[in-house]
């Protein structure tokens, strides 16, 4: 913990905030990719202290948020199967599918267990040979090596009752989608330090070049984020683009070759649907055909379970930074943290939940009693006051290359 406290130093943080505010010549729009970074920004109130200088758009890097409805429905289907123990990371349990969430499924008798690692799920499978253990493998390149390892070990040990329901996604194809979208406001990217610790940043170089965007590989502690933001602002103000690395203590250009090799042996690139965004070609990882015995979709014949996203939930536009949460008609009315329609309202760090809470704070009677109604109303006001007119939104083209 001593090591961690050093990256949370208040005096240094405040000094960096001042440097960022001094350095910008106008409002700069940055996107942080990873949900872990969003978590720190919100928890520390960094977005708040930078308001007016830097606007942080929360990117689509929360694995919970982007897991498509269809995969949640498949998980619910598996949880209802009496042969199956469905093992999952904790925060997937509240994500709503078409027929409820996994917590409700558990209340109806489904055997749903929270694990901290896919290897724990594998151990569970070995302890309970008469049950099928399915691990809900969600996440970005960060969780992929451990999930690959679980499958690899299962094959080595010959564990026939273990499989993965895979919903792995990768960052670069989503970044391309954001950067090439018409009306994109994002001027610079904070790349996710842990993803890059695995994958390195070679994949980001052509993107930074093509779109002339600074990308800073950034860590997760307050000082990391503030330093990453400062580096991005420096590049923007200096008219530079390309990839820089803030997270030098963990990330090398080539990433971690042993982890990449293992991923390569277990997974292949597939098209993958992202919640609210739709299918992004080549953005997902799926198990290789020779490992089909460990693929729950094959094993339990789940391909027939399809779902379309609720039209009312515009999480996709929020995740792409095109819509502020309060501009969504469902925000605060039919979609609240207690009854989320879409994933960004589930986690308290999700973009929608973050705005919901900010609105409550500014409201007069935000909390007492009817949280949902009051929150919605004030949330809308917040959104309106946060919105900058088109004139103050610099597009990429306006900036000197």
């Amino acid at each position: 913990m001593k090591h961690l406290t050093e990256y949370r130093d208040s005096a240094l943080s405040r000094a960096l905030v001042r440097r960022i505010r001094d350095r910008v010549t106008r409002l700069r729009v940055l996107m942080e990719i990873c949900g872990g970074q969003t978590h720190t920004l919100i928890r520390q109130g960094i977005d708040e202290v930078l308001a007016g200088s830097v606007e942080m758009i929360h990117g689509p890097g929360c694995p919970v948020c982007v897991t498509p409805l269809e995969q949640i429905d498949r998980a619910l289907h598996l949880a209802a199967d009496p042969r199956v123990i469905l093992a999952s990371f904790g925060d997937m349990l509240r994500v709503p599918g078409t027929g409820g969430d996994l917590l409700q499924s558990r209340a109806r008798g489904g055997d749903v267990r929270v694990v901290y690692s896919p290897l724990d799920a594998l151990a569970l499978a070995r302890r309970t040979p008469d049950r099928e253990v399915v691990f809900f493998a969600v996440g970005f390149e960060t969780t992929a090596p451990a999930n690959a390892m679980a499958v690899w070990r299962a094959r080595e040990l010959g564990v026939p009752n273990f499989s993965l329901l895979v919903s792995q996604v990768t960052v670069p194809p989503a970044l391309r989608l954001i950067l090439e979208a018409p009306g994109n406001r994002v001027e610079a990217i904070l790349a996710a330090g842990h993803v890059c610790a695995v994958m390195g940043w070679e994949e980001y170089e052509p993107l930074a070049e093509e779109f002339r965007v600074p990308m800073v590989v950034t860590g997760f502690e307050p000082l990391d984020l503030l330093e990453g933001i400062f580096m991005a602002v420096e590049a923007l103000e200096g008219g530079r683009w390309g990839v820089e690395n803030q997270y030098v203590r963990s990330v090398r250009r080539e990433g971690t070759p042993v982890a990449r090799d293992l991923m390569e042996r277990v997974f292949q690139r597939v098209d993958r649907a992202w919640r609210g965004i739709g299918t992004i070609p080549g953005s997902g990882l799926g198990l290789r055909p020779e490992l089909a015995a460990f693929d729950a979709e094959v094993k339990f014949g789940l391909a027939g379970i399809v779902a379309s996203e609720p039209a009312e939930c515009r999480a996709g536009e929020v995740l792409r930074g095109r819509l502020k949460p309060p501009q969504c008609p469902a925000f605060g009315s039919s979609c609240t943290p207690d009854h989320p329609l879409g994933a960004p309202m589930v986690s308290s760090e999700g973009a929608c939940a973050a705005y919901f809470n900010a609105g409550r704070r500014k409201g007069e009677d935000g909390a007492a009693g009817a949280v949902g109604e009051a929150g919605g109303e004030h949330g809308l006001q917040t959104g309106a006051s946060d919105l900058k007119g088109p004139g103050t939104r610099p597009g990429r083209k306006e900036r000197a290359p």
Binding site: D9, G45, G90, Q104
Partner: protein, 353 residues
């Protein structure tokens, strides 16, 4: 905007969230618990006393005013580092009575035992209950035992009811927090919850954390003697932790609370375990800590009194009551920003990233 929302509301393709049965979150102490109470229990039981929603109730019987409080204990595993379900069942109820400002005198206990529970476990639990009752100066005066089939209870469940005597001129209550009051905590947070979590299956590492279960009577007495009516609210932040306790107080009193990050006492081992597991220590249960909301001008006197007690050595002021943002608890962060410390909907879920 209005007509658009209407269209969407009419065309909502999502099913209504299921509300036809109990989920674990209903027992979390968060918003689901509050709603359960509001929607299903309060309508069935008229009576003003229940509606105060304190840790217990104060009642007038004849000429005496007494305090009653009840609590059920379903912890798993039954024994954990630093305690077991027995001392928890005594201390938990004793503390609830004490938080009403009363001195606990008597205890009733109901035991639901599962077929197959080893006597050696039962004997250890009963022995630790007995020791805890003696330490708290309460006498067990009535009890009940039931046995259910194997699989119908998790070893054993215990319900305890405490009866206590109110003290002259000392009436802390959740609705009495006032702007300008100081928010004090008596000791390090998160030990009980993390000790129990560490004792459960599924964790590969050992946590060097012991439950803090203890009777808080001497601390309450010290506060009463030092600042008396200057103590506006007392609360033991058990289920749901400091965050949930302060949210309930903020709502009951119609005030806001501002916490200062960095001064909240969280032991290194608790902070590290929470970091690894993706949990927030502010929501982790405590069983030997109290929150005192006291008149701002008497804060240092209250702190001095608490620090003289062995349980209060690390007592510290963690925040202030404000007239701003009524009903909300806001944390000032090291960076200089703020964040809402909200009531969780249900149980705290570990994050992936």
């Amino acid at each position: 905007m209005t007509s658009k929302s209407l269209d969407f509301a009419l065309g909502c393709p999502m099913p209504l969230p299921e509300r036809d049965r109990i989920q674990l979150g209903h027992g979390s102490g968060g918003r689901m618990s509050a709603n359960l109470l509001k929607e299903r229990f309060l309508p069935a039981f008229p009576g003003e006393v229940l509606r105060q929603l304190g840790d217990g109730a104060s009642l007038i019987l004849g000429t005496r005013e007494i305090v009653v409080s009840t609590d059920s204990f379903v912890v798993t595993p039954l024994e954990f580092p630093g305690g077991d379900i027995g001392d928890l069942a005594v201390n938990g109820t004793v503390n609830d009575v004490a938080m009403m400002g009363a001195v606990p005198r008597y205890l009733c206990a109901g035991f639901i035992l599962e077929e197959g529970l080893p006597f050696e476990v039962l004997d250890r639990v009963v022995a630790s209950m007995s020791a805890a009752a003696a330490a708290a100066g309460v006498v067990l005066v009535a009890g009940d035992t039931k046995v259910v089939e194997r699989g119908k209870a998790d070893g054993m469940f215990i319900n305890t009811t405490g009866i206590g005597e109110l003290q002259e001129g000392f009436r802390p209550a959740p609705h009495l927090a006032r702007p300008g009051d100081a928010v004090l905590v008596s000791g390090p947070l998160g030990c009980h919850g993390m000790a129990v979590m560490g004792a459960r299956d599924g964790l590969d590492f050992r946590l060097e954390i012991e439950s803090d279960t203890a009777p808080l009577l001497s601390l309450v007495a010290a506060l009463r003697e030092a600042v008396g009516e200057g103590v506006h609210v007392l609360r033991d932040p058990t289920r749901g932790g400091l965050a949930s306790a302060l949210n309930e107080i903020a709502q009951a009193s119609g005030v806001g609370v501002v916490l200062e990050d960095g001064v909240i006492p969280i032991p290194g081992a608790v902070a590290a375990a929470c970091e690894v597991l993706g949990l927030d220590p502010l929501y982790v249960a405590n069983e030997g800590v109290l929150v005192a909301i006291v008149d701002g001008e008497m804060a240092s006197g209250a702190l001095e009194a608490m620090r003289r007690d062995p349980l209060g050595r690390e007592a510290v002021r963690v925040g202030t009551v404000t007239a701003d943002h009524p009903g909300l608890v806001v944390l000032r962060t090291g960076v200089g920003g703020t964040r809402i410390v909200d009531l969780l909907p249900g149980d705290q879920l570990p994050r992936i990233c």
